[in-house]
Amino acid sequence: MIPSTLRMATPLGFAALGGIYSERAGVINLALEGMMLMGAFGYVIGTQGSGSIWIGLLVGISFGVAMALLHAIATVTFHAEQVVTGIGINILALGITEYLLPPSKQVGGLPHWQLPLIGSYSFIVYLLPVLMVASHILLFKTPWGLRLCAAGESTEALAALSLSRAKWQYLGILLSGLLAGAGGCFLASEVHYFTKGMTAGRGYLALAAVIFGNWRPLSGVAACFLFGLATALELANRWNIPGQLLHSLPYILTMVVLVGFVGTSRPPASLGRMKS
């Protein structure tokens, strides 16, 4: 149960952290799905092309960042509708990967580290809690993070400090591409293949985790573990519960949280807004 929870939660956690950076900077990020898909794709073709998983990881992450750059140019520079741009990027990523579909040749996985009491997992799994805590400190305890958040809270706060809102939004979106791309790399490295549309809605689920976790890194990643557990239960399925019910549990929970029945849900004040 624990191994499959971790394997499910890790790519989600990376994408969710990415989503938090972007949304905290005020840009709705529906493109996580496409960024992850391109990350997985980049990992596989990079590894196949060079023979090195590290080059693969680098290619995967840079493909994620490339998608993010497109999202940033469209939404921040051209003020394009953020929701629609995100969907466009997901369709684009699906198309590019389908067009250039790599031969279904097995690629190596990322190195596993053996830790006492925990077991042997890909090092990416251990990286997630580190990044989660680092993101929390970065976003809420440093001037850097507060500026990024200010970009999402108000359209004019940064201008008052004579800082460019656009620059911080670019940064937030690019970071989300980096993290979502890394999540995609992990996904491909665990199954050793790239298959068409292999992210299968994980980007949207990660976005749900962002909302579920109230746009905060600690609770966002915690939500990913909860969603991962739901998927692990679905796979184990010992109690004759319809798998589909467990499968849709994260989505139902997110709606419940969003409506405000449980706790309060407060998105960044200027999320999705380009002008005051």
Binding site: A80, V84, N90, Y99, L101, M255, L258, V259, S265
Partner: protein, 359 residues
């Protein structure tokens, strides 16, 4: 100077409706042009003949009535999802949930079509009604949550999509699966619940052509939608809430009520895409039948500038692309991902153009 005169006569003076209309046509036409151009460039750099590629596009869509029938058949669900997205958009709402709404509606149509054995003149309207009610219900939930609790409809419609996929998968694998079949599908609906194929009415269409009367329903929906949005009180309320929410409330319109019924209407129209599939083509519910129609609907609405007639043209274009994608895969070995990627770029270009003009 003569060119300028010609331009003025085409475009009309600054304030006229025809000039506005002409200007609004430029971005989509430009986007389509760039789309085909860049596809040709990609094909050229694959080391294949780009001219041959364009010839195949034309012949695969328009060489015969049969080919064109397939184009219109492909366009049918996209007309509905495009209209659904546009109805929401005109009121300032994003309905990303068409995919889920059309699945739920398709299942409702299939359920009624399987269980009731009535004459066609009763059963067909009943099935369509059931589908529209199911789609409306699925759309109204995010609408209600937005109106009552301020929960963003984008996230909720996406969540409702995934819930619909899971629910339908459950129903079709555990409850209503056809006996003795491995395929996740329901039994066939009754003969009387089927929407007739046009091949039996139009002499030039071969019997194998799947074009059916649901395309005529789609055309009817386009006209009705146009009349509804432009000339009725409700259409006016819908647009007013989209353009100037505060003015609407000042004028005595409750934007919350409008939000709920707009999402319901949008869902009902999206549901008709499910009707076209179940009653017009497959005569049963097959799990995962839609190939992203709900999402393509967003592209269709964008390209059609949220105008019903624009949407009809855009849907026919996408119907053509879907058909051509298959043919170029078979004839030239070009994967259909090319058009999918192009479609993604098209969406991004169009929203960028819209963004700049709003800036």
């Amino acid at each position: 100077m003569n060119i300028r005169k010609l331009f003025v006569s085409l475009v009309g003076d600054k304030t006229s409706q025809s000039r506005k209309f002409f200007l609004s046509c430029i971005p989509p036409l430009l986007a389509i042009f760039v789309f085909f151009l860049s596809c040709g460039i990609v094909v050229h750099f694959r080391g294949q003949d780009a001219l041959e590629f364009y010839k195949i596009i034309l012949s695969s869509g328009f060489a015969s009535f049969d080919e064109f029938g397939y184009v219109l058949f492909n366009a049918t669900p996209l007309v509905f999802t495009g209209l659904a997205v546009a109805i929401g958009y005109r009121s300032g709402l994003f309905n990303i949930g068409c995919e889920g709404q059309l699945y739920v509606a398709a299942f409702a149509a299939a359920w009624v079509g399987m269980h009731l054995n009535l004459p066609a003149f009763l059963l067909i309207p009943l099935c369509i009604g059931a589908a529209m009610i199911a789609g409306a219900g699925w759309g109204a939930i995010p609408g209600f949550l937005k109106a009552r609790y301020g929960a963003h409809e984008v996230i909720n419609t996406i969540m409702m999509n995934f819930i619909a996929f899971a629910l339908m998968n459950y129903l079709v694998t555990s409850v209503y699966q056809e006996q003795g079949q491995m395929i996740p599908q329901t039994p066939q609906i009754h003969e009387t619940a089927r929407i007739p194929r046009l091949a039996s009415l139009i002499p030039f269409l071969p019997q194998s052509n799947p074009l059916n009367a649901s395309f005529l329903i789609a055309c009817g929906a386009v006209v009705l939608c146009y009349i509804f949005l432009t000339y009725t009180r409700w259409g006016y309320e819908l647009r007013l809430v989209g353009n100037a929410r505060d003015v609407a409330s000042y004028g005595g319109i409750n934007p919350r009520t409008v939000t709920v019924w707009v999402m319901a209407l949008s869902g009902a129209v999206a549901g008709l895409a499910g009707v076209a599939e179940v009653m017009g083509y497959r005569y049963r519910y097959l799990d995962n039948f839609s190939s992203g129609w709900g999402f393509t609907g967003i592209a269709v609405a964008l390209l059609g500038r949220n105008n019903p007639f624009g949407i009809l043209s855009a849907a026919v274009l996408f119907g053509l692309l879907n058909k051509v994608a298959l043919d170029i895969d078979i004839l030239l070995g070009i994967p259909r991902g090319l058009f999918l990627a192009g479609q993604g770029m098209l969406i991004i270009w169009l929203v960028c153009i819209e963004g700049i003009s709003r800036k």
